[in-house]
């Protein structure tokens, strides 16, 4: 019968329309912003810089190696290296970025920077409700705006952050045992030197840089 197909189609839409009143499955829309769907853990949008401890600038993990700047596909990262050094989380003296800018208007959220970073310093945020009225300055994020605490990272990506922390703790332990072994070797050498008379010079004290506790 001509028109049968059309009637069948109309029955289908009627089923969906009526069904949306009774079945949660059929009503798929959410009344944003009053209602929100649960955030998905792996979501990414713009990069953030992770810092340990309480002081964002002192605890910044970034050592300004500029790998992300080089690898960034749209070239939206801009880094200026410091001339002095500060200790990083294992206590090793490292340079740090005096300037770390990301042009958010250019960034395409591909997270290549996260992948190439050997220091777990740059991660992706999940903040999507962003807007600015300043087209030029407001879209250029500096290191103060980019730095987020490790706690924040744990909040947005708990699984990934736990893995990262475990890896960092392992690295730190390795560095500590290495430092300890080095100190012991130095002490043994010093003891041997002291045992050999007649040089009563003061045994050199092995210097171990104070290990800084990572936040969280």
């Amino acid at each position: 019968m001509l028109g049968e197909g059309i009637l069948q189609g109309l029955a289908e839409t009627a089923k969906n329309f009526a069904g949306s009143f009774v079945s949660k499955e059929r009503l798929t829309t959410v009344q944003y912003p009053e209602e929100r769907i649960a955030p998905i853990e792996n979501t990414r949008d713009f990069p953030i810089l992770i810092y340990d401890g309480n002081d964002p600038m002192a605890g910044l993990r970034c050592v300004a190696c500029q790998i992300c700047e080089k690898e960034c596909p749209p070239k939206c990262i801009y880094i200026v290296k410091s001339t002095d050094k500060k200790p990083d989380f294992v206590g090793k003296m490292q340079i740090y970025p005096t300037r770390f800018d990301i042009d958010i208007s250019v960034c395409m959220s591909c997270q290549i920077c996260v992948e190439v970073c050997p220091f777990e310093a740059i991660k992706m945020d999940t903040e999507f409700e962003l807007s600015t009225t300043d087209r030029f300055g407001g879209l250029l994020y500096d290191r103060e705006q980019l730095s987020k605490s490790n706690e924040h990272y744990h909040k947005i990506h708990p699984t990934e952050a736990a893995e990262v922390d475990a890896r960092l703790a392992e690295e730190k332990a390795k560095a500590e045992t290495k430092a300890k072994a080095a100190a012991e070797a130095a002490a043994a050498k010093a003891a041997a030197a002291a045992a050999a008379p007649p040089t009563p010079a003061a045994a050199p004290v092995a210097k171990v840089a104070p290990a800084k506790e990572p936040g969280a």
Partner: protein, 216 residues
């Protein structure tokens, strides 16, 4: 599908006058190619398509490659008469290797698609140089899938395909003059002024402002 060597042998028996040579490919993909003499290219292409054994009826990909001229520095031993004595002197000679443009075609057979699994049959053709003798015969009469792709090669590389039914620019606009995919292409300084954190871009933007008197 047959290997490049077998196809070469088949071409040589069918068209002995066509100068076809094998170009080996050192990469693990081992997709060796056949270089055609532009004068006989159309005949070879028709043979490849019409031969019932080969039946390469599907030209998957056609593209251009730019190989600019290189300056090669060589050390040559020259016999010279110095103070009446013949001595062999090493001299550095600079030689300019002429550049050329290349068109590459990837062929498959849809007729024999399920017979054997193999890579594509690759055809290549070279122009004489990169400036005034850039004509190559169009293979569009044989495989129509090359129509838009050859237009694209003409547009982006500047190879002129003789016998192409509709050789116009395809991606760039008609008044455009250069060929953007050439290695020595310099992009014109006509972009809108946008402040970005990048030195190079900023410098160019400043230069552009100075040149044109355009303010942001």
């Amino acid at each position: 599908m047959k290997s490049a060597e077998e196809i070469l042998a088949a071409i040589k028996t069918a068209l002995p006058e066509a100068g076809v040579e094998l170009v080996p490919n050192p990469s693990p993909s081992a997709q060796h190619s056949l270089r055609l003499d532009p004068a006989h290219a159309l005949a070879v292409a028709s043979f490849l398509r019409n031969d019932p054994e080969l039946a390469l009826d599907y030209c998957s990909n056609a593209t251009g490659v730019d190989w600019p001229g290189k300056e090669i520095t060589e050390k040559v031993k020259v016999t010279k008469v110095v103070d009446g004595v013949e001595t062999i002197v090493e001299e550095t000679v600079k030689r300019v290797q002429a550049g050329y443009l290349e068109a590459v075609y990837h062929l498959y057979s849809m007729k024999h698609a399920h017979r054997e699994i193999a890579g594509p049959v690759v055809l290549r053709m070279r122009t004489v140089n990169r400036t005034d003798q850039v004509e190559l015969p169009s293979l569009t009469p044989v495989w129509r899938s090359a129509e838009f792709q050859e237009r694209e090669i003409f547009d982006l590389f500047g190879i002129v395909f003789t016998g192409h039914p509709d050789l116009r620019r395809i991606l760039m606009w008609d008044g455009f003059e250069d060929h953007p995919m050439r290695r020595d292409y310099v992009d014109p300084d006509d972009f809108e002024y946008e402040p970005t954190p990048h030195d190079e871009v900023l410098k160019r933007a400043e230069q552009h402002k100075a040149n044109t008197g355009v303010t942001a």
